[in-house]
């Protein structure tokens, strides 16, 4: 409402060029810039507040002796016997006589499904982007580009449902895996959500490579394939990398698809045909029922905080790498 008032004062300034109006206009400009800057800081502030909130709820795992009796860092990361005397193992079993909160199976599961999704999505999306920006007829491009971008608009629960009903059955019939819902099924479903993001950003990166690069390369006698592969792709590499990092971040945090298509069994194994349980799906499935303030509650927030830090570090690393590449490219040209 307030920003609306400021915006509507701007046209007045341009229409009536009297000094007084100019003065209020300058004031309006200043106000607008303050507001815009404010909203940018508001975004950062809310991000910090979210993290503080999650961190505060996760903290008792590290500080409260009461909670630590049930869940401490050692219960989260080290193996424990299911019963006294039994061999030690990594188990996630929070609703139990003796709750077990080993997050290692969840961590391995999250990483497994994310890597499968990314391995599948990135080559496909980057190749598609290269094709539409370098080789496709303009009319093909006009059809393909919005079609892939539209994929991003499909709600993830719909993709999840599709995986559960259709994709899982196809893969199960084709390969005969023991578990119908497994890391590969969920990973393929996830890649459907990742492809449009990687594609869109990579396509922008290819399109923003100066036309002169292509003309130069073609004038030197390179084929259009050589131009695309050896000139356009390297020149657009920082953008493509940024696309990959964004895609990875989307895959690791995506909830609904993995909740529906992965089977959600917290098994510690590296096999991609075993069922997996991810951080995000665990939070989604269990937070609704949990008693506020219990150890289980704080562990779930700990999972959230870990996920937050993981994506943050990943983005930071991606940013640094992109920056380095950019510098290298500029130095070379």
């Amino acid at each position: 409402m307030r920003s609306g008032g400021v915006l509507s004062s701007n046209p007045e300034m341009t229409v009536i060029p009297v000094p007084k109006a100019n003065f209020t206009g300058a004031l309006g400009d200043r106000l607008a810039s303050v507001l815009i800057r404010g909203s940018a800081f508001l975004a950062i502030l809310s991000l910090i507040l979210i993290f503080v909130f999650i961190g505060k709820e996760a903290l008792p795992i590290l500080t409260s002796p009461e909670i630590q009796k049930e869940a401490s860092l050692s219960t989260l990361f080290l193996p424990h016997p299911a019963k006294p005397g039994a061999r030690t193992e990594y188990t996630w079993q929070p609703v139990s006589e003796v709750p077990k909160y080993s997050i290692l199976p969840l961590f391995v599961g999250t990483l497994k499904v994310t890597i499968i999704a990314v391995l599948f999505a990135i080559p496909l999306a980057v190749a598609a982007a290269l094709y539409t920006s370098e080789f496709a007829h303009p009319w093909v491009r006009e059809v393909v580009k919005p079609a892939i971008e539209l994929l991003a608009g499909i709600p993830s629960v719909v993709i999840g449902f599709f995986c559960l009903m259709v994709l899982a059955a196809w893969l199960h019939n084709a390969f005969g895996w023991t578990y119908r819902l497994n890391a590969i099924t969920a990973g393929l479903g996830l890649s459907l959500a990742v492809i449009p993001i990687v594609y869109t950003v990579a396509e922008d990166a290819f399109s923003s490579v100066p036309q002169a690069f292509r003309e130069g390369s073609l004038a030197m006698g390179a084929s259009s394939w050589q131009t695309a592969w050896r000139v356009v792709l390297p020149a657009a590499m920082p953008g493509v990398l940024a696309a990959c990092v964004l895609g990875f971040g989307r895959a690791i945090g995506e909830t609904m698809i993995v909740l529906m298509a992965s089977g959600n069994a917290a098994v510690l194994s590296l096999s991609p045909t075993d069922s997996i349980r991810t951080f995000s799906a665990t939070i989604a499935a269990e937070l609704g029922e949990v008693v506020v303030g219990s150890a289980h509650y704080h562990v779930l927030f700990f999972l959230g905080a870990s996920l937050f830090i993981l994506t943050f570090v990943l983005n930071l690393f991606g940013h640094w790498w992109v920056g380095r590449l950019q510098k290298k490219l500029q130095g070379a040209s």
Partner: protein, 285 residues
Amino acid sequence: MKARVWAVLGGLIFALPSISGCGGGSGTGAKAVTVKGSDTMVILGQRWAETYMTEHPGTRVQVTGGGSGTGIAALINGGTDICEASRPMKDKEKEQVRSRHGKDVKEIPVALDGVAVYVNESSPIQALSEPQIKGIYTGKITNWRDVGGADQRIVAYSRENNSGTYVFFKEHVLGNEDFAREIQTLPGTAAVANAVAKDPASIGYGGIAYATGIRAIAVRRDETSEAVHPSLQTVRSGQYPLSRSLFFYTIGEPDGEVKTFIDWVLGAEGQKICEAVGYYPLIRK
């Protein structure tokens, strides 16, 4: 701009009485009853609401699912008038209601349900004993060969741990032992039923009302007793081992619209709908 602000303000002014009406349960304007809870009961609740609303056009009954735990949490937080639950409320939860609202929670059984154990239609398994089902879900039995089937690994599906069916199954069948780690959990009985329908080597459990397209097997209490199929007679008589009551919970004695609705549900018409949906009407004494 201004018009929009006024519209919003106007909307708020009109919305306020209905919000406070919901909370107090004695609203004069809009008559709305909110029902929230068990996913098992959501179909039943919606059918009740639809029929009730056609007969009482002045009242709006809103039914949502989410799981018994979610419904109970909503009742405690004052987010719903009636909580549907497929398990009895725990003492700790009743205590939370008492300390939060100063009133005891009122438990009203509204229907009977059996938890069915499903297998794929093509499976040769006709009956399992409770110890066998327990063995499968605790990971001691992993091959169908051991319970009279083909030499094939058992793929067992369960509900997520926010479901009343999960808690019922864990307490009654597993004797409160842990589920094995390999057990796959799915959000919602429909997802479990669907997964079992697609995989010949699988087993799952859930409400009997969902058992279409898959086969509910007969259950023996132990190895020597007779195998009993889930049905109206066996659930009502208590012969079927895996049966339970379904509940409504309210804060204190229900009054006003909420009471009228609950009385109607417990009456002849409401109970007839139970049967139509696939649950069992209460035993009339």
